[in-house]
Structures are given as C-alpha cells and as structure tokens.
C-alpha cells in the first residue's frame, strides 16, 4: 500500500511514462498532494485524521504542527544521514522527531492555549505519526537535503489538505459552523455524531470511497481513450 503510484491519468506531475523524465524536484513536491497522498493513498497518519478533525480550527492547527515536525525532521535527518551509523538509525531519527514535537508543543501552548488544550494528548502523539518516521525511512534517510525537504513539504501539504477536508465536513455537519461561524442559523439541528469518533470513521470511509470511485473512473476513461487511439491508429495504417 505504501507509495502506490497510480498510472491513471492524473493532473500534476507524473502522467503516463513518456520518453522524457518529469523533473525530479517538481515530482518530489507534488506527489504528496494527490498521487502519494499520505492519508488517502498511503493510509498513514489516520490517528490524528480521525481524532482531531471535529473542527476546522483544530484540524488546521494539527496540520500545521505536523507539517512543521515533518519538514524539520526530514531536513535534519537528511543532513546527518551519512553520519549516523545504521545501528542507531531509528533511535537518532526518533530523538530528532521527538525534539521537534516538543518544540511544537511549547510553541502551541504559548500561542494558541485554547486549541492546544482541545488537541490534548494528540500533539505529543505526533511523534508516533507514521507519516513522519515513514518519510525519514523511505526518503530523507537516503536522499539529499533539497529533495528531502521538498518531499516533506509535499507530504505535509497533502496531510493538511486531508485534515481540512475532514474537518470541514465534520464541523459543518456536526456543529453547523465553519471556524466557529454559524452557517445555518439557530434552527439547524446539528448531526452531533459527526463530531464524535464514529463520525470520524464515517467521514474517512466516504472520502476513501469517493477517491476509489474517482480513480476507477479515470482508469476506465484512460483505458477507453487508449482503445480509441489504437483503433484510430489501426484504421489509419
């Protein structure tokens, strides 16, 4: 499931293989948005995706904190990748990640104490978010600093996009508000379960379902387009 590259017809970098290689830098950045989105495609980092997306504000702050930790750790891990002996690789990566998480925690506590309290234990849990250690192992530990940072930024943005989608759906349906602003007026009966844990699972399930449907549809369209092209080429010959 890791890093599944879809060959379906997608926008952004990396279409069907042509003779020309896509510029690696742009690829490194863009693949995290959709093609290898850490939550939608790699199914990593589901814990915060389910737990803290009951409001857009919480989702955004958590997304930013994770982004900060991901980019910072990828940068440092890539910087020291040749100096770290293999035997202590994981331990060193964890020290780096945990340091960044603690720094993020202190900054959140100082700047946004109310949201920090609502996020509760989940800020500290960023340490065990699989996306972060996963990217260090899969990419930052083996690639130069520039590419690693681009990869981390792409993955971080992909994660934030997903958090935003989940948070918006759950807050609008479950509280009738968006960023605290009431959308439907006082008569709206909020669908409370959407801001509770089951709502997180339902929302994620439907988002994944929608993504799977979309990919199947575009795969079918690509196949149909290929068949037409072959047909046309056959008739022309």
């Amino acid at each position: 499931m890791n890093g599944m590259v879809s060959h379906a017809h997608m926008h952004g970098g990396g279409g069907p293989p042509t003779g020309r290689k896509a510029p690696p830098a742009r690829e490194d950045l863009l693949k995290g948005f959709w093609r290898e989105n850490p939550v939608l495609i790699q199914l990593l980092g589901l814990c915060p995706t389910l737990a803290v997306t009951n409001s857009v504000a919480n989702s955004v702050v958590m997304g930013i904190a994770t982004f900060f930790v991901l980019v910072g750790s990828s940068f440092l891990v890539s910087l020291v990748r040749r100096r770290v002996p293999n035997e202590v690789r994981i331990a060193t990566y964890i020290v780096i990640i945990a340091t960044f998480v603690t720094v993020a925690e202190m900054i959140l506590q100082a700047l946004v104490p109310v949201i920090y309290k609502q996020l509760g234990a989940f800020v500290a849990l960023i340490v065990v978010n699989c996306i972060i250690l996963g990217r260090q192992e899969a990419f930052a530990g083996k690639n130069p600093v520039g590419r690693s940072v681009l990869d981390a930024v792409g993955m971080g943005i992909g994660f934030m996009i997903m958090m935003l989608i989940m948070g918006s759906v759950r807050e609008v349906l479950g509280s009738g508000t968006l960023l605290g602003v009431s959308l439907f007026g006082p008569r709206f009966e909020p669908w409370v379960i959407m801001v509770l844990p089951p709502g997180g699972f339902f929302t994620l399930a439907f988002v994944l379902l929608a993504v799977a449907w979309w990919k199947e549809r575009t795969a079918k369209q690509a196949k149909a387009a290929e068949a037409r092209d072959l047909d046309a080429a056959g008739r022309a010959a």
Binding site: P85, T92, A98, T99, V103, G120, P197
Partner: protein, 227 residues
C-alpha cells in the same frame, strides 16, 4: 555472509565477500550523545523563549478558574502557606512563586465567599491538577474545576468534561466519600464515573488530602478574620 556451497569436490570455493567494517561502539555512543546534546540545547532554548507566554496564559486560566469555583467572588486575595499557617504576605526573602498559595475570594466589599485551593496528585495516567472552592464556615465545597489532566480521552477526562460529575462538588459536605454510581445517599457522597474509578478517586483524594492538610490553617485564618 559466505555463499553456501554444496559439496563439489575439486570446485574452487569462491572467496567470501569482505565483511563490512564493524562500527565502533565509541562511534555509536558519540552519535547518540551529540544528537542528544543538540536536542537538549534546542529544547532548553525554546523552553526559555516560550515560558513567559505560557506562564501568562496559566495565570489567566487560574484567575478565571478561581472566579468559577468561588461563585459570586468579585476579587480575590492571595494567601501564602508558611509553616502550616496562612499569611497575607510572603515572608521576606522567600520567593512567592515557590510558596503554596490559597486564594480568598470576596464579594463586593469585604464579605468573604470562600477559599480556593489548587492541588495536584497522580491520577490514572499522570498528575491531575484541580482547583476547588471551600466554605470554611459551612465546611462545604463551593465547586471544583479540573485544570490539568492527561487522563484517557472519553473516559477519565470525564472528570473534567462531564457536567454531572463536576456539578456534584458544589455544596458537597466534606470529607468526601466516593460511591458507586447511583448509590449516593448522604451529603458528601460523590458518584464516581463508571469506567474511570481511578480518575474519580484521584479527584476525591486530592480534595480530602488538601483539606486535611490545610484545614486547620484555614479555620484559624477564618476565625481570625471574623474577630
């Protein structure tokens, strides 16, 4: 690792590939040591930078909490616990931040509402920190608010979030006794939260212990004030 060679008499055995150079223990220790040192340095710097903002936030929260557990209090005085007695001013040379504090709330004028205590003790996961208001004359609680908790979300954190649980503390007679849910019969009994016995017990224990420890000092101060 040498390639396993089946019995082939007369065939040349290929030379084993050279084993990778063993990493010296000192290198491992140095790497982790340096990494740890840099991490520690970074943490200390950020801690120092964020400390003022965090302390200011905590102070604001505390003031709001005092007003919440001492309902009707317009202002409050900070008293210090010095050698088992409550005094209005910190003794010379002592750092007021290091002394234990008790807050005395007043309604408009000089009518006293009650004392507020901040205390923390281990709960299920980590320390549970709370503030509670106490009426020394009636020996009753005025309210309780959990300030810091890392208890299990959804279960233990009900000590903070469940209004039914928290509401029991208003007007509760001391000392508190925890009972199974639904079995309250006497004043001072507190329904514990099903599935969060340890967290509930921690709250009750914190309040009882604090009152046992500071009760006499508070009563002395209260009596003094009336005289």
């Amino acid at each position: 690792m040498t390639a396993g060679d089946g019995p082939a008499p007369g065939a040349a055995v290929p030379a084993a590939p050279p084993a990778p150079p063993a990493v010296k223990t000192s290198t491992l220790l140095t790497t982790l040591g340096v990494g740890g040192a840099i991490a520690g340095l970074l943490l200390v710097v950020v801690y120092g930078l964020t400390l003022p903002a965090i302390e200011a936030n905590k102070q604001k929260d505390l003031e709001a909490a005092i007003k919440e557990v001492l309902r009707g209090a317009e202002r409050y005085e900070t008293l210090y616990v010095v050698k088992g007695a409550l005094v209005a001013n910190a003794p010379e040379g002592a750092d007021p931040k290091k002394l234990e504090r008790v807050y005395l709330g007043y309604r408009t004028g000089s009518e006293r509402v009650g004392f507020a205590f901040v205390a923390a003790e281990p709960g299920f996961q980590d320390l549970v920190g709370l503030i509670f208001g106490y009426d020394a004359a009636k020996k009753q609680l005025l309210g309780m608010k959990v300030l810091e908790t890392k208890e299990t979300p959804g279960l233990g954190d009900k000590i903070e979030k469940d209004p039914n649980f928290v509401g029991q503390f208003r007007g509760a007679a001391t000392p508190l006794v925890g009972v199974k849910r639904g079995k309250r019969s006497k004043p001072g009994e507190i329904d514990m939260i099903t599935g969060a016995t340890i967290s509930s017990r921690a709250v009750i224990r914190i309040i009882n212990n604090t009152l046992k420890r500071l009760g006499p000092a508070v009563e002395a101060y209260a009596a003094e004030g009336k005289g």
